[in-house]
């Protein structure tokens, strides 16, 4: 019996751009689907990660829920991959690291232009924001990194086919971009 490789994906403090780029592998997705099946992912709506071979994580860590999800992935995925600029160095969301959190919240919800009914959201369902946005490798061990904003579809394809065919993943010069 051959079992398919299980892949989980998630977006933490990201924009889903990396997921969109992953989908840009287009018809190659059909070939991939012959070899893998998806566990927790925005593509499946499965809410919690089971035991997986590969975890692809987009975005950095900006709130308490991100920390929980990241740890769930680390616990369940044999190979954990930081995907994209935000996962690797915090990216655009980390631009708030230079402004005190209180000032960020005040600007957004109290004093900013066009704010009506000013109040800082405080529902118990909302995850608490961390003081700063962190890249993934500051929180858990990361096995591979795919740079890019976003990494191109070819990066996903090269990386996954390398892994699936038992090679040490490597990216040629043309596929390494930080932008």
């Amino acid at each position: 019996m051959t079992t398919k490789i299980r892949i989980a994906t998630t977006s933490l403090a990201g924009c889903f751009g990396c997921h969109m780029s992953f989908l840009d592998i287009d018809e190659r997705m059909l070939r991939l689907a012959e070899l893998v099946e998806f566990d927790r992912s925005p593509l499946t709506d499965i809410e919690h990660c089971g035991s997986c071979d590969i975890g692809l994580i987009e975005g950095g860590v900006c709130n308490s829920e991100n920390v929980h999800v990241l740890r769930e992935f680390r616990k369940n995925c044999k190979v954990l991959v930081a995907v994209g600029a935000c996962a690797i160095n915090g990216g655009l969301p980390a631009m708030r690291n230079f402004i005190p959190l209180e000032e960020c919240l005040a600007e957004s919800y109290l004093t900013g232009i066009g704010v009506e009914n000013p109040q800082i959201p405080n529902d118990i369902e909302l995850p608490l924001l961390l003081n700063k946005v962190h890249p993934l490798h500051e929180v858990v061990k990361i096995d591979y990194f795919l740079p890019g904003c976003p990494p191109s579809a070819d990066v996903f394809w090269k990386f996954l086919t390398d892994l699936l065919e038992g090679r040490e993943p490597s990216l040629p010069y043309e596929l390494i971009h930080y932008d």
């Binding site: 930081a82 600029a85 690797i88 160095n89 915090g90 990216g91 655009l92 980390a94 631009m95 690291n97 230079f98 700063k132 962190h134 890249p135 490798h137 500051e138 990361i142 591979y144 990194f145 795919l146 740079p147 904003c149 490597s170 990216l171 010069y173 043309e174 390494i176 971009h177 930080y178 932008d179």
Partner: protein, 239 residues
């Protein structure tokens, strides 16, 4: 009789007074570097050009070439050290390539690509650094400064001015502008100055020119800095 040294086992001729970097460049051997520029007095600060000379670490840009030296340059160990140095440069500043005008033309990024640097390895500092947009034509974004002093040297050695300097030590080191206000607008810098064009990163930029060449068509988007650097050196030599 020609004098020679060896780099990674290859015989390289040199003339008295040349550094290892100069001899290597003339022989089309790339040694990674950021603070070195063939037109300016070497500074030896970025340490990317570290090579092993007869078993000891030396900066190729400042170390004199000598007869019979055995130099190790392009080895796995040395390139791993260079990658760590580059990662430290990234985490000490704020290098957000997707939102930087210099992306694709940035030598810091290009050296990182060359060294196959896929992550930052170290915790990020996210230091608080300012911008100086006071000058009508030239912008300083201190977030991206790696203290190579190329602007300092270009201003002094080619422009005949003294616009820039480094101040402070260690983690407090920073680029300053030599005016009472500390603002670039009060300095003698003009957009045609060499110092305004020499920055290897996106720390000193000419305003309103950032996207004249689209991302994807820039120098290092398709060419490794090891090739670009040697081609540029050749062009300057022919010139």
């Amino acid at each position: 009789m020609n004098k020679t040294l060896s780099i990674d086992g290859q015989e390289i001729p040199f003339e008295d007074g040349q550094t290892i970097m100069q001899a290597a460049t003339a022989a089309k051997v790339y040694i990674p570097h950021l603070c070195h520029h063939p037109e300016f007095t070497p500074h030896g600060s970025c340490k990317l050009c570290t090579v092993k000379v007869n078993g000891r670490n030396c900066s190729a840009c400042t170390f004199p070439a000598a007869e019979g030296q055995e130099v190790l340059n392009n080895t796995t160990d040395i390139n791993e050290d260079r990658k760590k140095i580059t990662q430290m440069l990234f985490v000490e500043g704020n290098h957000f390539c997707p939102s930087c005008e210099k992306t694709g033309n940035c030598q810091l990024q290009a050296v990182a690509y060359h060294l196959n640097m896929l992550d930052n390895h170290f915790p990020l500092f996210y230091p608080q650094r300012a911008m100086d947009a006071s000058h009508p034509e030239v912008l300083i974004d201190h977030n991206r400064c790696i203290f190579c002093t190329l602007c300092v040297r270009a201003s002094q050695e080619q422009d005949g001015k003294n616009v820039f300097a480094l101040s402070g030590r260690g983690i407090n080191k920073h680029l300053i502008v030599n005016t009472p206000s500390g603002k670039l607008k009060d300095s003698a810098l003009v957009a045609d100055d060499r110092a305004a064009h020499i920055c290897p990163t996106g720390a000193i930029l000419i305003k309103r020119t950032g996207y004249t060449i689209p991302i994807g068509q820039r120098i290092y988007d398709h060419h490794d800095i090891s090739d670009v650097s040697l081609t540029t050196a050749e062009a300057q030599h022919d010139h």
